[in-house]
């Protein structure tokens, strides 16, 4: 049983450009860069017939690909794979609703809003809120604020 939950969340495109990096553990900048490159290397070589899980150092990456973007969550080896796999999908559905058919560019131009979405759904490496209705309601309320 882990005490740590999610170690980091990464969204990367196929070329390896990071679209979101959210760290729930202390890493120094060099280490972050290394992790980003390693994750890209292990995830992009896998195809649709492979599982959505891959062992990574002492952890595992649960990932799902949407168009050209890889959504990756790094957790402990004994964490629940499918729960995190669907947490990714839940998150993507919220982004899709919030940005009206989300595409990679939305994440680029609105990077500061993506952080808000993440914080609504994941906090301190744990799943915070899972109801799409509740998250979207909150996001729209924030959107309406000045």
């Amino acid at each position: 049983m882990s005490l740590h939950g999610i170690r980091f969340i990464l969204i990367q495109n196929r070329a390896g450009k990071t679209r979101l990096a959210k760290w729930y553990m202390q890493f120094d900048d060099d280490e972050k860069q290394k992790l980003i490159e390693e994750v890209h290397a292990v995830v992009t070589v896998r195809d649709a017939k492979h599982t959505n899980f891959v062992e990574f150092r002492n952890f595992k990456i649960i990932y799902r690909r949407y168009a050209g973007l890889y959504f990756c969550i790094c957790v402990d080896v004994n964490d629940n794979n499918l729960a995190y796999l669907e947490a990714i999908h839940n998150f993507v559905e919220v982004l899709n609703e919030y940005f009206h058919n989300v595409c990679e560019l939305d994440l680029v131009f609105n990077f500061y809003k993506v952080y808000t979405v993440v914080d609504e759904m994941f906090l301190a490496g744990e799943i915070r809120e899972t109801s799409q209705t509740k998250v979207l309601k909150q996001l729209l309320m924030l959107q309406s604020l000045e």
Partner: protein, 982 residues
């Protein structure tokens, strides 16, 4: 719903981002960024005060630049200013900038405490959440110091909004993880547990995570969460797919919350309350039943969410390991998944079944799926799935299916990915040994391993086959015949040559009667491989040759010819040259009798635990090899296959090649008239100037190198006469001084300090230990103003101790401790120590000198205790308990209950346990007051896994200490050593 337009609100930011995206080269990008940085800098420095909007925009641009990977060295103050804005969008950018950049600038934290305090007190839920998220994202100790006291209050306040409670719960969790001491729960505990009853499912979702984390440290305080969690779970599981509305995900009610609740329950044993337990079992059955129902949706999201709960349910069932009915049902369910079209499910089923295989209730049920698993090993496209299949085969292996599983693994090895070959090799080697009914099968299997994957067969594996063949005379003839045949292959792996060379050197005589494998044929077969082999292998073959001269006098002339050849006698490699020279001389000058004695067949290897198993454990972490340690399932196996019976009369030489000629075992011809077990012999061998040059890697070098086991080429002091014993025989040594034991006890948990002191002399010790080796520096200080004369410190191994531990004076003779120590001076002595087997009493240190004409003598115990060779092992709670259970024979456990001799301080205890050498495992013992540790005692001959548990009872001022190891004497000895320390 208003769509979010691109970069809405901050046009300048959108333009800048577009510009960057349009840059054609890295240089262009840098140029554009520098231009922007200059612009922002001038704005921030300008006379005109910036409005909030501009500040927000520029800070956001800086953040973007930082995220592109550039350093940002200004703008922090502007970001901090944004925190005091009362506009949400400005505040949000300020907080974001700080959360993202804080790693690079921890100075920032101090600047923002005030703003956070204000927001927390603002009663504006949006602002409170921003502040809480910032604390949770940064999570530093400084944050904890500033806010840990406020957050529980916010969490349980009646008027806090739900969203604030959610954030507060997880914020607290983060602070608790970072610095548990700053989060005193006490008064809040009950109210936090009751959050499990909260109406808002989001609050419950956040709170379960917090409680799971807290209860690991204080399980008793949070015990009430069990019944609350069970009733919450029961309500979710039994609800219809639409009851929970917002929290229903693809027709599955609250999947994430269910998973979290099931994980919380895994922190505890099964509920004691029968009603609670009944309700929980009902839940678990419901989940298993639902798995059989037709899906409510074809979407993968539906089945994933449902199966997330199912797998967590199975984890809980395995955790309890007490409901045979549920375990078998779980196994059947996983069996269905093994053939599912979703790769994810097949993977997870294999993984989960692996843990089921180690439960006695479900082991048989798991075994029924063997064919499917073998098929997975052959056909899965994803290597990680194949690896899980191999793990499962290993876990389900027992005597009934070992031959099938081993042969399938061997077949798989031919095509296996390089990354997992070594692991498969180890597994096959272990299974073959563990479940061998006849040893010819074992020998065949290992030779097949070498044939198929020779590069991945580590020393441990081929050493092991040699040990087993040496110890079992019923297989020696077969082994000789088989290696002889294997060596016929035109291209055989070098490891095959090593095994072949060793076995023929020992047992070639058993097949020499057959003209097809007559001695000359054997020799020329081996020698045909000689020139293509590495130095190590050639060295081994030279030893085989000299053994041949003894076994088959008819080969003497040929072999002497080979040894005499210029390519050997003048070999550039000193090791080969030395062997050639020494062997040639030995074969020419020694009488047949001497030859026969020196080159006698190797004595049996005294060893119990397989070194391969230890290697697999190292590779995979403890627990990985559990199926193999598991005597419970197959108790009879220990008798036949549990390694080699110890033979107390022989010296341990686990590495068969380290001592090919059995020199250490045989009483050396030049030994002084048997003085109580030739106690000093080995000290002499290491120490004697005559022996020194031929020692090759001295213990000293070995220590500095990677601490590998002695390489096969490790030479012997074969022809060197041991130096005349300079040390006093044990009979000259006085008994240890009365305080010796007490002094020794001081060093059980530490390596450095003053070992002894009186008016004349002070002896200091500094030592370091790694694996089974150690080095000790002894400092002798003359406290007087008069010179000590004839100063001679020596190390003695009383009785047969030298067969257990070697402490040699490792320094070159020239740097010996001077015979005179001037007044006020200090001299230093270095000892190299090697632990061969476990031992109970330490070597003795005898110091003699003349002070003002009067002889002084002093005998101390050298501070070397078995725990010095402890290697800490980290493991998870699950693994720990599994291993603990496995060591449940009464003689494997030693326990002591004793009064505390020192104040009972947890930190001091911790430090002592760490000093003792074991790893301290957190979150294993349900009682946080207790200490749990694990480690492996490394000796050359064997490794002894040790688990320990120390339970302080502050009220009674007592401790209970329990040790479990695989060896009775070690358990008792460690228990005694450690009990003295508290």
């Amino acid at each position: 719903m208003p769509a979010v337009s691109k970069g809405d609100g901050m046009r300048g930011l959108a333009v800048f981002i577009s510009d960057i995206r349009n840059c054609k080269s890295k240089e262009a990008e840098i140029k554009r960024i520098n231009k922007e940085l200059a612009n922002i800098r001038s704005k921030f420095k300008g006379d005109k005060a910036l409005d909030g909007y501009s500040k927000k925009k520029y800070v956001c641009k800086l953040l973007f630049i930082f995220l592109l990977g550039h350093d940002i060295d200004f703008g922090h103050m502007e970001a901090v200013n944004l925190l005091s804005s009362n506009k949400y969008t400005e505040k949000q950018i300020g907080y974001l900038f700080i959360s993202v950049l804080v790693n690079s600038n921890s100075e920032l934290i101090r600047l923002i405490n005030n703003a956070i305090k204000n927001d927390l007190a603002s009663r504006n839920p949006t602002f409170m959440c921003l502040a809480l998220h910032c604390i949770a994202n940064v999570g530093s100790r400084e944050m904890g110091e500033a806010f840990a006291a406020d957050i529980p209050r916010i969490l349980v306040a009646g008027d806090s909004m739900d969203s604030v409670k959610q954030s507060a719960a997880l914020c607290l969790l983060r602070l608790y993880k970072a610095s548990p001491d700053l989060v005193p729960m006490g008064e809040w505990t009950a109210r936090v547990v009751h959050l499990l009853n909260d109406q808002h499912m989001g609050v419950v979702t956040a709170a379960v995570s917090l409680i799971t984390c807290l209860c690991k440290k204080n399980p008793d305080d949070f015990k009430t969460c069990i019944s609350l969690a069970v009733s919450r779970l029961s309500r979710i599981v039994s609800s219809a797919s639409t009851d929970l509305q917002d929290y229903t995900y693809y027709f599955v009610p609250a999947p994430w919350l269910s998973v979290k609740l099931l994980r919380l329950l895994q922190c505890y044993p099964p509920p004691e309350d029968a009603a609670v337990k009944g309700r929980l079992v009902e839940c678990l059955e419901t989940v298993l039943n639902k798995a059989q129902e037709p899906p409510k949706s074809k979407k993968v999201q539906h089945s994933n969410a449902k199966n997330a709960i199912l797998f967590e349910t199975i984890s809980l069932i395995i955790h309890y390991d007490s409901e045979p009915n549920l375990l078998v049902r779980a196994c059947n369910q996983l069996g269905q998944f093994l053939q599912h079209r979703e790769t994810n499910l097949r993977y997870l089923a294999l993984e989960s079944m692996c843990t089921l295989a180690s439960s006695e209730f479900s082991h048989e049920a798991v075994k029924t799926h063997i064919d499917t698993v073998i098929n997975a090993l052959k056909t899965e496209r994803d290597v990680s799935v194949r690896q899980r299949a191999a793990d499962l085969l290993y876990a389900m292996c027992d005597r009934s299916n070992a031959k099938q599983i081993v042969s399938e693994m061997l077949r798989y090895l031919e095509t296996a990915d390089y990354a997992i070959r070594e692991e498969i090799v180890l597994k096959v080697a272990i299974l073959a040994e563990k479940y061998a009914v006849d040893y010819s099968w074992y020998v065949d299997t290992i030779l097949n391993l070498i044939r198929i994957a020779g590069d991945y067969v580590s020393e441990e594996v081929w050493y092991r086959v040699l040990q087993i063949v040496t110890n079992r005379d019923d297989v020696q003839g077969y082994a000789a015949k088989t290696v002889f045949e294997a060596l016929q292959a035109p291209a055989c792996h070098e490891n095959m040559v090593k095994v072949g060379g060793y076995i023929l050197g020992e047992f070639g005589n058993l097949i020499a009667g057959d003209p097809r494998s007559s001695p000359p044929v054997q020799f020329s077969l081996l020698h045909s491989k000689f020139h293509l082999c590495s130095v190590a292998t050639r060295a081994l073959l030279l030893s085989t040759y000299i053994k041949f001269i003894n076994l088959f006098p008819e080969t003497k002339a040929t072999i002497q010819g080979v040894l005499r050849a210029g390519s050997q006698l003048r070999n550039a490699d000193v090791e080969l040259q030395q062997r050639a020279v020494e062997y040639l001389t030995l074969s020419s000058v020694a009488s047949t009798d001497v030859l026969a004695t020196v080159l006698e067949e190797m004595p049996p290897f005294p060893e119990r635990e397989s070194s391969i198993l230890a290697k697999l454990k190292r590779k995979k972490g403890p627990g990985a090899a559990s199926a193999l340690d598991d005597g419970r399932r197959d108790p009879s196996s220990n008798d036949i296959n549990g390694g080699v019976e110890p033979t107390p009369s022989t010296v341990s030489t686990p590495s068969p090649s380290a001592d090919l000629l059995g020199l250490r075992a045989a009483p050396p011809p030049a030994a002084p008239p048997a003085s109580a077990g030739a106690g000093n012999l080995l000290v002499d061998v290491f120490d004697g100037p005559a022996a020194q040059p031929s020692l090759g890697p001295t213990p000293e070098e070995a220590f500095l190198s990677e601490l590998e086991p002695p390489a096969p080429e490790s030479p012997m002091a074969l022809l060197a006469d041991p130096a005349p014993a300079a040390d006093p025989g044990p009979e000259d040594i006085g008994p240890p001084i009365p305080e010796a034991d007490e002094l020794l006890n001081k060093f059980v948990c530490k390596n450095n300090g003053v070992l002894f002191e009186n008016q004349l002399l002070q002896i200091g010790v500094k030592s370091e230990f790694r694996q089974n080796l150690g080095r000790m520096y002894l400092f002798y200080g003359n406290k007087t103003s008069v010179q000590f004369q004839n100063f001679s410190p020596t190390v003695v191994h009383p009785g047969d101790l030298q067969t257990h531990i070697l402490s040699g004076l490792g320094q070159p003779p020239t740097k010996r401790v001077a015979a005179q120590v001037d007044g006020g001076a200090q001299v230093q002595q270095v000892l190299n120590i090697e632990c061969l087997r476990d031992f109970l009493t330490p070597p003795l240190l005898s110091v003699r000198f003349r002070y003002g004409g009067a002889p002084q003598a002093l005998t101390l115990k050298l501070p070397v205790t078995i725990n010095k060779f402890f290697q800490p092992t980290e493991m998870a709670a699950q693994d720990f308990f599994q291993r603990w259970k496995q060591l449940s024979l009464p003689q494997q456990e030693a326990q002591k209950i004793f009064k505390a001799n020192h104040p009972m301080d947890a930190e001091v205890t911790k430090a002592k346990l760490l000093g003792f050498g074991s790893a301290l495992l957190d979150n294993v013992d349900p009682n946080p007051e207790n200490f749990v540790g694990a480690g492996i005692i490394q000796t050359k001959a064997l490794q002894v896994g040790c688990l320990l548990r120390l339970e302080p009872n502050a009220q009674a001022q007592m401790y209970r200490l329990t040790l479990r190891t695989s060896k009775e004497s070690v358990s008792r000895h460690l228990c005694e050593l450690l009990a003295q320390q508290f």
